[in-house]
Symmetry: C2
Subunit: 155 residues, 2 copies
DNA sequence: TCAGTAGCTTACCTCAAGGTAGGTACTTAC
DNA sequence: GTAAGTACCTACCTTGAGGTAAGCTACTGA
């Protein structure tokens, strides 16, 4: 979807990215699009789920609580187009479709899992930080100088 | 922002997450919010940029091409509240504000960098996969059985 | 005969993400 | 005298992400 309908005058500009390393700091670099797919709200969770093995559509839908059918389908299509997941359709009734990771998908997914694991493990620390943050806003700092809320330095 | 204005009847339900490990598969788990901040469009890039060292606001704005002042400020606030970045204000004219990672921020950012590095390195592979994908749609598959576009299995 | 099932697609609608632009306060450079 | 740099905040408006619901297929079981 994203790849195929670039206006022609952009094709040449894009061509260089197809061969070279991407640069996420560059606004026009297509790696931004890949990053968006991979770090999208549902993309992250789908990839991590698939890391545990092949899933059917309905299994994914149940596992990733809160996704709508529409968004799950959309997410899976984007990931399939980028070559991260394979879709296998069985011509049976009722329909059955299996999704699994490609080797490339496993590489990205493993990086993502490291991140999601960290977040799940350290959630209490984040909560503690948030609590500190609100208390710092209401209490105008302990004893010394410094005015309101935010930390200030005297350079 | 996110943390403080939960309705009271949710406080108790949230309290358990503050102590336990998070579960990203659960729709109501606040780890979803942390994930959103961290994997947000600009959050990712800001964290990776800060991994290279302290930056001022304007430096980040220039480095992360395409971000508006508004979104950069918003992103930084969210990351500050979650305890990933520190903000240091110097009372000078013209204003000067430095942003850097907390130890916690460095932990997440390093996981994110692994992901962004992978994407930048493997962009050509993704492009190749996309090209295969479109050609598979237009060409009704090489020699054997199978009908249109998508791969089918005879199970 | 009719409901139920799996995996979608489509149309419609809402809400939030995010862009644009203007204001602020002060200084330095032209 | 005025333009530009610096780090924002606020109001306004557009765009798109994403939710809801209905439809579709072709079969099975009640």
């Amino acid at each position: 979807m994203t790849a195929s309908k670039q206006p022609k005058h952009l094709r040449k500009a894009m061509a260089k990215w197809a061969e070279q390393r991407g640069d996420l700091y560059a606004a026009a670099c297509p790696s931004r699009g890949v990053l968006d797919h991979v770090t999208s709200r549902w993309g992250v969770l789908v990839l991590v789920a698939l890391l545990e093995g092949t899933h059917r559509f309905s299994e994914l839908r149940r596992k990733v609580a809160g996704v709508s059918e529409k968004m799950l389908a959309q997410t899976l299509h984007a990931l399939e187009e980028d070559g991260f997941v394979v879709r296998e359709v069985f011509p049976v009734i009722p329909p059955r479709v299996d999704y699994s990771l490609t080797p490339m998908g496993q590489e990205v997914a493993s990086h993502i899992e490291a991140l999601t694991d960290w977040i799940e493990d350290n959630l209490p620390r984040v909560f503690a930080a948030r609590a500190q943050h609100v208390s710092r806003k209401s209490a105008p700092e302990g004893g010394k100088a410094g005015r309101a809320g935010r930390r200030e330095s005297s350079a």
